[in-house]
Subunit: 116 residues, 2 copies
Amino acid sequence: MTTATNPRILEHPEREDIRLEPVLHALSDAVRLRIVRDMARGEGAEFSCSHFALPVTKSTSTHHFRVLRESGVIRQLYRGTTKLNTLRRDDLDALFPGLLDAVLTAAEAQTERLGD
Amino acid sequence: MTTATNPRILEHPEREDIRLEPVLHALSDAVRLRIVRDMARGEGAEFSCSHFALPVTKSTSTHHFRVLRESGVIRQLYRGTTKLNTLRRDDLDALFPGLLDAVLTAAEAQTERLGD
């Protein structure tokens, strides 16, 4: 078996290995927060990276998605050559009840107050 | 007047200038989170930096307190030569209702799950 080195298999922390500090770090960037807010509105939907019209280069975008994945905020899997992204809401809500909603609400409040 | 350049006057964002992303960044570090949790237990009390027995050097500690201050999470003021720290709970709760409590609860849950 060679799945461990298959570049199409992306590494994710198991639920029990997700830590609060990296999750907060992942959410502490405006671009990543925007991705997470978009995904939260999609309620479990899978999004390709190109779905998000981000004001950054492709390599920066890839970096942001990796930070989100490695912290446990999103799940990424390949379907063919396309990476699909889903929010790990169940895992986050189980570990840190109310946290994701509080961050999303805070982000909405800030957008209303200041614009995007 | 020379207060603007007085080194004993520490710069803080006004409430309306506090932003979610730097607040989340400030909270995304284990040492800073520990400081904030200790201060939250104190419910408005003022703490000297030396109150917190942190496993870091003095200059690293100073850096962490500065990140917390500049993001708007804490207020620091001099009393004589001692810096006193208070949590800006009112400001954070007004801007981002429920956020600080969700982070504190998540931190407690993680400590219970994994230890400090």
